[in-house]
Symmetry: C2
Subunit: 349 residues, 2 copies
């Protein structure tokens, strides 16, 4: 699809660096008044009334994604999501991004157009301005480096360090699906290697595969919390797995926590696929990464404001640090929570 | 020096991702009050009173640098300079950077320590805070993606688009030396391949090689212009060569320009090395890249304020667009200036 083999495709060398950036970003629209100057000078110029938050992530082919099942348009979309998720995790609004890409001459102009179509769709859906970037050659593979900027009033910005004993632990959406989506895609890739004519029937996996290939960052959660007049005490996004992120909050806030197995939000599709793969769904929910949901804590007094909201699940509460970090199982036993991370979960199998 | 061959060196896998970032950045000091929160949360938090400028650059091994003659500490330093130069080119003060690095397991922890030592030295010398980043694996090679943030009062920010007919064209420092430094290093690399025991005598090339390996961004120029009460009408940094950058200013400002060959600032070391390499020094000055000097225009009325300043050279003046962009040679002939860029200069030889 993206390989530089067909004669009808345009080689990157046919554009100069500046021509290429101009070409790829010509349909991008500026949506924020805070963007005084976008692409086209030595630097972009922004004017924000409130403090800004800044985060950056680098995605590398062969490490973070596999183009044999990740379409380039999805990759562009996901690369933006990964970064915006970190902005929302500060309880802030995302406003601008810069996008730098390095790629080998195996990629054509048409391939980069696909990638930028995904970036543009993400920028449009999430109302962020693409204010700059760099497009350069690489000896091998493709890498995408994005820096995201957001803003929020100082008193609203939420760190990992504010959780207090007796706070409630909440999570948005459901967990583990992106990880199992990856397992399904990896299995299909192996099947394809053996029999390239096999037509995989992915219908029953649609939700899980979509969670892996087209994750959505939770722009709506900071907005919802503002409407509900709830100021979270601590917040983090779930990129490496619930266990690992909860430990970050506990370490940074000097507290402990209890999670309850029967409160963990699981999509029904996940349970049946976990059975198929002979994996324990609780383990997947605790350690599967890339869900890009938000994990946060609130004061108990705010419970009535969030009670019954379909976007949020109360999954536990914060304790004194001395009590440690535990999962209370359905059988009512307490297991210590360790940061396994989804990479090591794979290795341990 | 940096290869992962000696047993005494530490493999990257011995640190987790978070452990590695913590380890590499533990000596970094925060110098700006505008940095409310640095490394250690989902995003950094900054509070700037004035507008900010944002720029990003991606350096890729085998494309932008060659580790056979670029020590890792120098590479770290230069990667920061490349970005800060874009901030100064907006007539702004640089305040914060994020640093993302991807590298293969050919690199050890000690190698990354060297790289970060260069980044730290640059951050210290130029008073910028390292506020975030990402360190990740790569299948091959090493890439460095830096985003730099700066700030300036709105009325001081200088774009490429403000040059007016009769403005003077100025440049800081001298030009062409970084390019000839690269030529010298490439020649020595070839010699080394043939005879690894040959000890190169680089003493007469010290200045040129240093301009290539350890460029300094012109932090002092926006400061100097403020002291002199000169507001430039347009400004750009010289990364791709004087011709190319002048054309950017002329295009963005809808003007033409005349440069004078006898006014171009050339270091004496450059002239003798150009003779040695049988290259025309004016061509090198016009098209040699990576000098990271600033090219800018000022109103003629400000001439007395900058006259005789040893950091600045008046090299020409702005004309109406219809007059085109020309070099007036020592023989008083007018040659059109074209954007060759230092890459194509190499290819054309």
């Amino acid at each position: 699809m993206f390989n530089n083999t067909e004669d009808s495709k345009t080689k990157l060398s046919e554009f100069g660096e500046f021509g290429l950036i101009d070409h790829l970003t010509k349909h991008f629209v500026i949506q924020h008044n805070s963007t005084l100057k976008s692409i086209g000078d030595d630097a972009a110029v922004l004017e924000h009334k409130n403090p800004i938050v800044v985060t950056t992530d680098l995605l590398v082919e062969g490490i973070h994604f596999d183009l044999s099942y990740m379409p380039l348009k999805h990759l562009g979309y996901k690369a933006v999501m990964v970064n915006l998720s970190d902005v929302y995790a500060m309880n802030a609004e995302a406003t601008q991004i810069t996008v730098s890409i390095s790629c080998s001459n195996r990629f054509t102009v048409e391939a980069l157009e696909e990638l930028y179509a995904g970036i543009q769709l993400a920028a449009q859906n999430y109302k962020v301005d693409v204010i700059g970037g760099d497009t350069t050659s690489a000896v091998k593979g493709i890498s995408i480096s994005i820096t995201a900027i957001g803003t929020a009033p100082k008193e609203k910005i939420t760190y990992r360090s504010g959780a207090k004993p007796n706070d409630l632990v909440l999570v948005s959406g459901d967990l583990g699906s992106a990880f199992m989506g990856l397992k399904v895609l990896e299995r299909e890739k192996e099947v394809f290697k053996v029999n390239p004519n096999n037509q995989p029937d992915l219908e029953k996996y649609t939700y899980l595969v979509e969670r892996q290939l087209k994750p959505e960052a939770r722009k709506d959660i900071p907005e919802l919390l503002e409407q509900l007049e709830v100021l979270p005490t601590a917040m983090i996004d779930i990129s490496d797995g619930l266990s690992s992120e909860l430990i970050h909050i506990c370490k940074n806030s000097s507290v402990g926590a209890n999670l309850f197995e029967d409160k963990l939000p699981i999509d029904p599709a996940l349970i049946s696929v976990c059975e198929e793969f002979e994996l324990d769904s609780t383990t997947v929910v605790l350690n599967g990464g890339e869900d890009y949901e938000l994990l946060f804590t609130i004061n108990q007094n705010d419970y009535d404001k969030i009670k019954g909201n379909p976007n949020l699940s109360v999954i536990g509460h914060i304790t004194e640090a001395s009590e440690g970090i535990h999962l209370v199982t359905r059988a009512n036993t307490k297991l210590p929570i360790q940061a396994m991370g989804w990479n090591s979960m794979d290795k341990e199998k």
